[in-house]
């Protein structure tokens, strides 16, 4: 067989989902629910790493990527946090307990767990961006490989906050700063008023330590401005990680929808090469730098 013709040894992919049952859901913030699913075959999926994602099919509506907020247990039960935004999520919101959905995964590269050992780690999440970090935060708090850990969670307003019970649990263990873009005095409670960027100097002062590693997940503008904030203050771009959101149809680097141009003009598929990236590999080409 000539060299350039197809290699017969390559293992073929599957684009066909495994069946999972929608077990139940709880409301978790505005138009957001935490869903529990159970894989019909608990062994249908390799154990995901924090930050990896799955493709959820709602038959008839299509497929979209979601992060694991908890990974499948021995019975194949796992959780995902879903905000109703588009057609797939709207169809999911119409589903009832017992309905069948499709699941593929895990996909992508997770957070750099191994690089957090012995480090002072600051995690900053915005809005739905807390979801891809939840599983990581749980594992970090359980295993305590870090030297210091602190969390900042920004939301536009109180009603858009998510994972209340998780945040209360985490706040027992590590410093956690909630920030709200807008809030009345009564809504503010223990939260700080402003965006994570506006409040970061103040937060760092309160912490009393300087992070060695910064993990970011949220709207792209928030991640970009915060990454620039830390770089301007002398942090290495190699110490900053972020998780990128893109539209995905295949999750295996074929359909092209999640492409990203890196600063060296190489092409990447966020589904396969991300969604977590180190800041120095992204800037400055693909991102709109803050005005």
């Amino acid at each position: 067989m000539p060299r350039t013709m197809m290699s017969e040894s390559a293992e073929l992919l599957s684009l066909t989902p495994s069946v999972a049952e929608l077990l139940d859901f709880v409301d978790d913030g505005e138009a957001t629910r935490r869903y529990r699913f159970r894989l019909r075959d608990p062994n249908a999926m390799a154990t995901p790493l924090p930050g990896q994602f799955f493709m959820l099919s709602v038959p008839g509506a299509g497929e979209a990527p979601f992060t694991f907020t908890t990974v499948p247990d021995r019975e194949g039960i796992f959780c995902g946090l879903v905000r109703r935004v588009g057609s797939v999520t709207s169809a999911l919101f119409e589903c009832r307990a017992g309905d069948l959905v499709g699941v593929r995964g895990p996909f992508g590269r997770g957070w750099p767990m191994e690089q957090l050992a012995g480090q002072r780690v600051l995690i900053v999440a915005g809005g739905c961006g807390l979801a891809p970090l939840a599983c990581l935060i749980d594992q970090l708090i359980a295993q305590r490989p870090y030297r210091e850990l602190a969390l900042v969670y920004g939301a536009r307003q109180r009603s858009l906050q998510m994972l209340d019970d998780s945040r209360q649990r985490w706040a027992q263990q590590v410093p956690l700063f909630d920030t709200l873009d807008t809030a009345t005095e009564a809504e503010l409670g223990g939260a700080l008023l402003g965006t994570p960027l506006e409040l970061m100097d103040d937060i760092l002062l309160r912490l009393g330590w300087v992070p060695d590693k910064v993990l970011l997940c949220g709207p792209e503008v928030m991640m970009n401005t915060l990454a620039c904030f830390f770089v301007e203050r002398g942090h290495s771009p190699r110490s900053i990680w972020l998780s990128i959101e893109r539209r995905m149809h295949c999750a295996v680097g074929l359909c092209g929808h999640c492409y990203l141009t890196q600063h060296d003009l190489s092409h990447h598929y966020v589904c396969r090469d991300g969604p977590t990236y180190r800041w120095d590999s992204l800037q400055p080409v693909h991102v709109a730098l803050p005005e």
């Binding site: 350039t4 684009l15 295996v252 060296d264 092409h267």
Partner: protein, 326 residues
């Protein structure tokens, strides 16, 4: 060294192969210089196809099961593109189910076609042995040279009792291909354009100007033999089953990357045009695939209503190339 035989008529090969293979001939006339308007990529990466069916209980993969078929008379540009797609879709079960059934019979080009520049991007005009199972070459004195370049090709012509030809014929073929290469028009705009793209020297403003001319019609991406982007959708069957279909998509559509939240990382037409040409001529793609994504068929030039096909774009960005790279 590949074996080479004398074939008196194409019909003889045709009827021999037809005993095993369904014959598909993309060209109206095997031996015409212009490639067909539509590339043969759809024979492997289907324009629309079903991925699986959900019957209410299970998801069932629906792999295509085509009979053995031969693509009879495919030019070097398109064969190079198939070799490229073979790499890209190496692990795609739907592509491979079709590809494994196919025999590729290439045809050498001996005259340049109107928009083509295969010679400038190492994709022709002579068919490379690694890109086909059999190669045809028209002899000026009549008849055809038939070259065997794979075990599958050898198996396919077994029993034809053809006379073997010697090296003189192969050397004569090489000469005719060299003459064809020499007959292509000036391609300095292509080399300079490639250098400008690969070194990231084309300013955003230039891409934006080109973007104004992009109508987002998907003509280029549909005809391009190496374009491979696809979308998916669910369709309901009469009996209540649901099937997932994938279909050719285009990275030049405004909505290609738009997310449900309406966030769109490539909102600007210029950004999408830049990405398209970087995909075809970026050095980083060449590193991954062993060659550029463009095979020089010229179909984008032929079809683009906004006049930003390959020659038009490369002429406009050629000046951004470094001076020493002419």
């Amino acid at each position: 060294m590949m074996s080479c035989y004398l074939l008196d008529t194409l019909e003889r090969l045709h009827s021999h192969l037809a005993r095993v293979y369904q014959i598909v001939q993309p060209l109206e006339d095997v031996g015409q210089s212009a490639p067909p308007l539509v590339s043969p990529k759809g024979y492997f990466f289907a324009e629309q196809e079903n991925l699986f069916v959900f019957d209410g209980e299970c998801f069932r993969e629906t792999l295509p099961q085509p009979p053995p078929f031969v693509l009879f008379g495919v030019q070097s540009c398109d064969l190079t593109a198939i070799a490229y797609q073979d790499q890209f879709f190496a692990r795609d079960p739907y592509y491979q189910a079709r590809r494994q059934q196919a025999l590729l019979v290439g045809i050498d080009c001996v005259t340049p076609c109107e928009h083509g520049f295969c010679a400038s991007v190492d994709a022709g005009p002579g068919v490379k042995a690694g890109c086909a199972d059999l190669i045809l070459h028209a002899r000026p004195e009549g008849g055809w040279m038939l070259m065997v370049c794979s075990d599958k090709g050898g198996e396919a012509i077994r029993g034809m009792e053809l006379d073997q030809m010697d090296d003189t014929e192969l050397r004569a073929r090489d000469r005719r291909i060299d003459d064809c290469i020499a007959a292509f028009p000036d391609d300095s705009h292509l080399h300079r354009g490639i250098a400008a793209i690969s070194q990231g020297r084309v300013p955003d403003q230039q891409w934006q100007q080109l973007g104004i001319q992009c109508l987002g019609c998907s003509g280029c991406t549909t005809l391009c033999p190496t374009c491979s982007c696809y979308g998916t959708r669910d369709l309901s069957e009469d009996q209540g089953d649901i099937r997932r279909q994938r279909f050719w998509d285009s990275c030049l559509y405004e909505s290609f990357q738009r997310e449900a939240s309406q966030h769109n990382p490539s909102e600007e037409a210029g950004e999408r045009v830049r990405r398209f040409w970087t995909h075809k001529f970026g050095d980083n793609f060449a590193k991954t695939f062993g060659r550029y994504g463009c095979v020089g068929c010229g179909r984008c030039e032929q079809t683009c209503p906004g006049v930003i096909g390959v020659h038009s774009v490369m002429r406009r960005i050629a000046d951004y190339a470094p001076d020493d790279d002419v």
